[in-house]
């Protein structure tokens, strides 16, 4: 609570500094609304500073002088807090007041202010008070109950897509009617608040962008990721976490001759002997050993369906190890490597597998796949483009209508059966969801509550180390793309 008050107080201080031009250069004029929200965001973002103020207040309060100072500081900040919101609207208030008085001249009026906009009650009240304060010095006196035929001013706080529009309809006691108005640019809408993280399946935000994201790969991490690669339709960017924010390290362009298909998909896979590989429809890029410099070529080579570290397998085949961090651990699992061909002008895998699953070298065209290693075989699940799920164990292809979405990913954990399948839901008007399942046999059993996302899931891939997955969503309200890491935690 103390922290929250300190934050608000800090915002108020920033407000004053900004309004006096001491610290923040803000555009003047009617764009004050945008400026206000920006400042508020900055105040919240710099979390450490309010803490510092809080601690500072605590220390000085140990002496009488300190107490007086603290009391004065609190008073000042509270005062600033009260006036902060009103000051944000100061310029349009002053503009409208001047235009009104230009019509009415000084004198008694009956004033009504109506909110026809999306402004909240707090802003509305601040503006209403601000308008009265702006009109009074110009010689306007307000009548509570009209005692005589007086000038009436009906102010409507309205809006259009670009601006807040404040309209004053003035009716003089002579019967003449006038309309004056001002506008004030609107700020962008703030993104919706995401739902809290459920208990077992946890999502961690990695990256957000107004531009499309196809995939994100975590390249380095300690307790949290500190180096990531972000794939968008035209480039790969490397970011490092420095100074409490992601700093761009390097960018490399993806060269491609053909137009990308709609619903473009792509995958980043961190490599052991070089930085990473990039898989896109009809294009594969490989970075150099030490840097991001990409060498892209048109290629219909298969994409790996699981991307763990490779070890040699029997008969010249390869195995992927999961989790990669436990390579030396007896609990790690070896999964036969499987690749699939991605249609270069579409959004799906053709269904041709290499080297195949047992006797199956083709399955119906599919969007995504997940694997569940068993003692003697691996059960592969393919989310086919017809909405069905094909469960292929090498000897049979069992088809099920599970009502899932089109993205599957498997994760190796220390929970439950050890391997779970993450499956997207079928979507709602508000967003998509992901839920974890286990397959004791061929029927899925939900083992987690669904994690909701406020947007459509556009990608879900198992990460290279195998115990987490990356989910990319597109927020339906803001259009923002967001990348999350999904991890399963044992227990509640």
């Amino acid at each position: 609570m103390m922290l929250a008050w300190a934050e608000i107080a800090f915002a108020a201080v920033v407000q004053v500094f900004a309004s006096t031009g001491m610290a923040l250069a803000e555009p003047c004029g009617v764009e004050t609304v945008q400026g206000r929200r920006w400042r508020m965001r900055r105040a919240v973002y710099n979390f450490g500073i309010p803490n510092a103020i809080s601690n500072f207040v605590t220390r000085v309060s140990r002496s009488a002088r300190g107490l007086r100072f603290a009391a004065q500081l609190s008073t000042v900040m509270l005062g600033l807090l009260v006036t902060a919101s009103a000051a944000d609207w100061n310029i349009p208030e002053q503009q409208l007041a001047r235009r009104i008085v230009a019509v009415t001249g000084p004198g008694s009026v009956s004033l009504a202010v109506v909110n026809r906009s999306s402004l909240g009650r707090r802003d509305y009240e601040a503006i209403r008070n601000g308008l009265r304060s702006a009109l009074e010095p110009l010689g306007i006196r307000f009548m509570k109950q009209p005692e005589q035929p007086a000038t009436t001013i009906a102010i409507s706080l309205s809006e259009n897509p670009a601006s807040y529009v404040w309209v004053a309809e003035i009716r003089k006691n002579t019967g003449e009617a006038f309309v004056v108005m001002v506008s004030s640019l609107r700020s962008d809408r703030t993104p919706g608040v995401h739902e809290s993280v459920p208990l077992t399946l946890r999502k961690t935000s990695l990256w957000a962008s107004d531009d499309p994201i196809l995939d994100v790969a975590v390249l380095e991490e300690s307790a949290t990721p500190n180096r990531i690669a972000v794939l968008d339709p035209e480039k790969v960017s490397l970011y490092r976490w420095q100074g409490a924010k992601w700093q761009l390290e390097q960018t490399s362009t993806i060269v491609h001759a053909r137009p990308w298909p709609r619903d473009l998909r792509g995958r980043l896979i961190a490599a052991k002997d070089h930085l990473l590989d990039v898989f896109l429809p009809g294009v594969i890029c490989r970075s150099s050993v030490s840097s991001l410099a990409l060498n892209c070529r048109e290629s219909d080579d298969p994409w790996p369906l699981m991307a763990g570290p490779r070890v040699p397998g029997v008969n010249g085949g390869a195995l992927s190890v999961f989790p990669s961090a436990d390579l030396a651990n007896a609990a790690s699992t070896l999964v036969p490597e499987l690749g699939a061909f991605f249609a270069p002008t579409r959004n799906f895998f053709t269904g041709v597998l290499t080297p195949g699953v047992g006797k199956f070298t083709t399955v119906p065209k599919f969007y995504s796949a997940a694997v569940l290693p068993r003692d003697r075989y691996a059960l592969w699940l393919f989310a086919a483009s017809d909405g069905l799920v094909h469960m292929v164990d090498g000897a049979s292809d069992q088809v099920a209508k599970l009502g899932w979405g089109s993205d599957l990913a498997s994760v190796k954990t220390s929970c439950g059966a050890g391997w779970q399948v993450l499956a997207t839901g079928t979507g709602t008007a508000s967003g998509d969801s992901v839920r974890a399942y286990e397959f004791p046999d061929r029927d899925p059993v939900a083992v987690s509550a669904a994690v909701d996302f406020s947007g459509s899931i556009t990608a879900m891939w198992t990460e290279a180390k195998g115990d987490t997955a990356i989910v990319v969503t597109r927020n339906r309200e803001t259009g923002t793309y967001e990348a999350f890491r999904l991890a399963l935690a044992c227990g509640q």
Partner: protein, 457 residues
């Protein structure tokens, strides 16, 4: 550049708050979409201004053609065929850098010369030239709205072959075209935005609203138009109904200027006699918004200032100042079933005020009942378009503030050539199998990213 917020835009009975019908899985390729529409255009040429404006016509244009710039869901201008643009000489000279590698459906490359020729054809008054891969547009007066104008379907880039075949760069190419009847489109494999998911689109034209709904119910159509007065019933019947914000102006347009002080008084009386509230409740079944302004309130922010209530007393007072009452004729579209009822109701209102208004389907009339789809959500472009359609003098705006806009609109209304009546939404009903189709901010629909799925997930 203006910022627009469209958070309220789609007023959907079953899919509130969503512009596009959400997809339950990844998009699936294949299938032919069947669409019906009331309009029956004789030409697909986007620059052909001889045809009546309609949301349907604009929608078709954007399936076949692309514009230099586009408008996003927030109303901001975005790159399309042009990747960047800049203004100089006080917004009199504009340069648009063309996207490379784009081809027309006939296989020829999109060049700055081709784009310039197309824009000249659509806008004879513009001075358009090509300079390398740059299209240059020069005008005599500053035009800050030019980027928004280039996003209008009528400024889509087209190419005509010597045998008059149209070619665009859009997601679908023309397979078969039977003017006024049917249009068959095929997916453009090499579309620069990527091949559409649908294999094709078949559009049946000249279908009245009732027939369109029957075709939807019979499964013969996937996407149909819904007349405003039917939207309430269609939603109640459980159809997936999606409506735009009010983007169509229903208005009375006088065919000549005010001729005398008496004429002015009589037009005042007519405007005051219209009972918009009851007409909206009864004839429009609650659809749309009563309007006395050209621009809807959501575009201007000040539309509420113009009173919409009828004032029969004042109407009669105005009428009584005139000794000789002319017999006016009100023209309406014979193909629009709601228009006849509206015209008759307006005639009744006029009679209550002591005026004479005779409904007719003739084209030689004193006043006509017109549906005007607003050209853009940009208020200046929308107002200029209505001004042109109503035959009013061009806008004389010196500034770009909301007060300037208000003054310009007031000037239009002061001519008494236009009596705004209602602002109506564009409404559509779709089958559950049609996924991810988009209702754009301007009331047009797009199926470039749509796909056909299963009825139930």
């Amino acid at each position: 550049m203006r910022l627009f917020g469209w958070h309220w835009l789609a007023v959907s009975s079953l899919l509130a708050g969503s512009l596009s019908v959400y997809a339950e899985t990844r998009p699936q390729y294949g299938g032919t979409l069947h669409v019906t529409m009331r309009a029956a255009p004789v030409s697909l040429d986007p620059a052909d201004s001889s045809q009546p404006e309609s949301f349907a016509q604009r929608s078709l244009t954007m399936l076949i053609f692309d514009t230099m710039l586009s408008t996003d869901e927030d109303g901001r201008t975005q790159p399309a065929l042009a990747t960047s643009w800049q203004a100089s000489q006080g917004n009199r000279r504009w340069q648009f850098h063309l996207r490379s590698g784009v081809k027309f459906h006939d296989g020829s490359a999109l060049t700055a010369e081709a784009a310039a020729a197309s824009l000249r054809s659509a806008n004879p008054s513009w001075n358009v030239s090509a300079d390398g891969d740059v299209v240059v547009i020069e005008e005599d007066t500053p035009d800050p709205e030019l980027p928004a104008e280039l996003a209008l379907p009528r400024n889509a880039i087209e190419k005509q072959s010597p045998d008059n075949k149209l070619s665009g760069t859009g997601p679908f190419h023309i397979v078969d075209w039977q003017p006024r009847k049917k249009l068959t489109l095929g997916a453009e494999e090499d579309c620069w935005r990527g091949r559409p998911f649908l294999d094709g689109v078949e559009i049946e034209m000249g279908k009245n609203s009732q027939d369109q709904l029957i075709e939807l119910e019979l499964g013969k159509a996937d996407l149909v138009e819904v007349a405003p007065e039917q939207s309430h019933r269609v939603a109640a019947e459980g159809h997936l109904l999606t409506s735009s914000a009010p983007m169509e102006l229903l208005a009375l347009i006088f065919t000549r200027d005010v001729a005398s002080p008496d004429d002015k008084l009589l037009r005042d009386a007519l405007a005051l006699s219209v009972e918009r509230g009851s007409i909206r409740s009864v004839l429009l079944q609650g659809a749309g918004q009563a309007a006395a302004s050209i621009l809807p309130n959501w575009i201007s922010g000040y539309g509420f200032v113009f009173p919409t209530d009828a004032d029969l007393t004042r109407a009669r007072q105005a009428r009584e100042q005139v000794h000789t009452i002319p017999r006016w004729t009100i023209g309406y579209d014979a193909d629009d079933p709601a228009a006849r009822l509206l015209a008759e109701r307006l005639a009744l209102n006029a009679r209550d005020a002591g005026l004479s208004l005779q409904p007719t389907t003739s084209t030689a009339v004193d006043v006509r009942l017109a549906r005007i789809p607003l050209a853009s959500a940009d208020p200046w472009i929308a107002l200029a378009n209505v001004t042109a359609i109503a035959g009013l003098p061009g806008l004389k705006n010196t500034g770009r503030s909301v007060e300037d806009l208000y003054a310009a609109e007031q000037a239009d209304l002061a001519t008494q050539r236009v009596i705004p009546l209602f602002h109506l939404p564009a409404s559509y009903a779709a089958t559950p199998v049609l996924k991810n189709w988009i209702l754009r901010p301007d009331g047009t629909w797009s199926v470039a990213d749509a796909w056909l799925g299963s009825a139930k997930p």
